[in-house]
């Protein structure tokens, strides 16, 4: 017997006299053991919302980093507009509500015994496991880009030391230098992220190193918020940013960190600073737990983000196959809340129902102008689908007041989602 049948009302056959004994608080007292792997926008939010819904559950968050460095807004750090401290969050807010925070690495998952093995060698048993492992780099998937190369050619696609490294390299670069960014094919974390970063690097070059230039070499011809970015680039950075799409042979085929070159099928670019955003996959623990498929990402049932490959495991955030819902912090946080509510309802014997979900992502195009993309999704029928006629981009050609309003909203969003996730 699994917990799943509760969706369809396992309690239906029990007489009303018994039902009155099984009031919600009684079921909530069952102390289920819930383990969450990964303390980002998915995992930390899941822990907090599960604790709110199931105060007597034993909730354990496994996360190796003492402090979480947020990816959203880290492009502002790279652009010299923000300090890393503003990106940094601790787990005090989780510990304060009696969530057990284990600062260790989840090494393996035994899905039969329902046990997580820690880097320290210990094990933890679960009734429910929630995995929000983010992404890992597919080292070697881009020829020449293995783990050692990330020092010479930072990806900065996991916020932290890589973010600082890329910022430092930009600061150290002589005026007149060439910055080259490589963008992989989809799917990857934060679809508009490369183009926001390019905007803010171009802003830095324009204002501080005006003889310098950024070239984006892209494996795609279409990208997120494309008309809005192209409009902003033409307006603000005509001399400092050039985007080369796949049709113009923008796809990088290999890199050489010794020579500091990036090669497409037709050209080789000599970079003074190279930001290689490499191909990605779900965080490696997903593969070891058997929740990732042959694509490297994790299929889920969008009703509650339960794994379709393993029982009693839910997967959240960038690691999942949730398209058209993007790999964003907003998505991860919302998926966490949905998963937590559905698990809460399931444990209380309540049926699960589909709903409408949405995503909003802002991108800065200058220090005081931002653009947004939104999507609205149904999770009915086993797959996420976009609701037609809804969502979409900020208007093209809008006044600076519209862009400035969205920049202010972006900042307010960051404050709210980090407060909600980390306390």
């Amino acid at each position: 017997m699994t917990w799943k049948p509760h969706r369809r009302g396992v309690l239906a056959g029990i007489g009303t006299a018994s039902l009155s004994l099984l009031a919600a608080p009684a079921i909530a007292q069952a102390q289920p053991r819930i383990i969450i792997v990964g303390g980002g926008f998915g995992g930390a939010a899941a822990a907090r919302f599960l604790k709110a819904g199931l105060p007597d559950a034993r909730i354990t968050l496994i996360e190796p980093q003492k402090r979480y460095i947020a990816c959203p807004f880290s492009n502002l750090v790279i652009g010299g507009l923000r300090d890393m401290e503003a990106q940094t969050f601790g787990y005090e807010g989780l510990k304060a509500v009696d969530i057990d925070v284990v600062q260790d690495r989840a090494e393996d998952v035994d899905t039969t015994a329902r046990r997580v093995t820690l880097g320290s060698g210990g094990t933890l048993s679960y009734d429910k496991l929630i995995m929000s492992p983010g992404i890992d780099i597919r080292w070697g998937a881009l020829e020449g880009y293995d783990e050692a190369v990330q020092e010479a050619m930072p990806h900065a696609w996991k916020a932290g030391p890589q973010t600082t490294l890329l910022r430092d390299q930009l600061e150290a670069m002589q005026d007149g230098g060439l910055v080259v960014m490589s963008v992989p094919p989809a799917p990857f974390r934060c679809p508009p992220g490369p183009y926001e970063r390019a905007s803010l690097i171009a802003n830095y070059l324009k204002t501080r190193k005006p003889a310098s230039k950024l070239i984006i070499l892209d494996a795609k011809d279409q990208f997120s918020k494309q008309p809005l970015f192209l409009e902003a680039w033409a307006k603000h950075y005509p001399d400092h940013l050039e985007w080369i799409g796949a049709s113009d042979f923008g796809r990088v085929a290999s890199v050489d960190p010794g020579a500091m070159t990036l090669s497409t099928d037709f050209d080789t670019y000599d970079a003074d600073v190279a930001n290689v955003i490499p191909p990605q996959k779900a965080g490696e623990i997903a593969e070891r737990a058997g929740v990732a498929d042959q694509t490297g990402w994790c299929p889920i049932d969008p009703l509650d983000f339960s794994s379709t490959l393993q029982p009693d495991i839910h997967v959240l955030g960038d690691a999942t196959i949730a398209a058209p819902m993007p790999k964003s912090a907003f998505s991860a946080n919302l998926q966490a809340k949905l998963c937590a509510l559905q698990i809460t309802r399931e444990l209380r014997g309540q049926p699960l129902a589909p709903t409408v979900l949405a995503n909003t992502c802002y991108s800065y195009v200058t220090p005081d102008a931002a653009v947004s993309i939104t999507g609205v999704y149904s999770n009915e029928g086993g797959a996420l689908s976009s609701i037609e006629g809804a969502g979409g981009l900020s208007p093209q050609g809008a006044a600076q007041s519209v862009r400035a309003a969205e920049a202010a909203q972006a900042a307010a969003w960051f404050d709210q989602i980090t407060r909600q996730t980390f306390g």
């Binding site: 907090r48 604790k51 199931l54 907003f330 809340k337 509510l341 699960l352 809804a390 709210q416």
Partner: protein, 126 residues
């Protein structure tokens, strides 16, 4: 053979048999008081159908609730005001904000449900 998984039901039954459930209190209120701001305790009661507003409202708190000027809190609006505002966003086809684009994905019934849920959560008159 895989070990038999516990269910919420049989764990609760076992605890009851062991007499461990005396003094069980309301789970929601306790946790809501522990941190400020904290996640809202989920409001559902056992055996009720899913409250559609509760699920729909999960999205709202990704942006709203921080008390900023740029993104208003909905706590300042009662149910009727919320419903009117959300339906206005949906109807204004030339609107420039994310809310205009988002609300077009919600039915009038969704909007009524989410307005009712949000206003009930903050204790204003439904």
């Amino acid at each position: 053979m895989r070990p038999r998984r516990r269910t919420a039901l049989n764990v609760a039954a076992a605890l009851m048999a062991a007499g461990l459930l005396a003094g069980a209190c309301s789970p929601g209120e306790e946790s809501a008081a522990q941190a400020e701001p904290s996640p809202q305790a989920f409001a559902g009661d056992a055996l009720q159908e899913t409250e559609p507003g509760e699920l729909l409202a999960l999205t709202c708190s990704g942006c709203h609730g921080g008390g900023s000027e740029a993104i208003p809190d909905y706590s300042q609006f009662d149910q009727a005001e919320l419903e009117t505002k959300l339906k206005t966003y949906k109807a204004e086809m030339d609107g420039t904000t994310v809310m205009h684009r988002l609300m077009r994905g919600y039915s009038d019934a969704d909007i009524t449900a989410v307005a009712a849920y949000l206003s009930a959560q903050q204790g204003s008159t439904p």
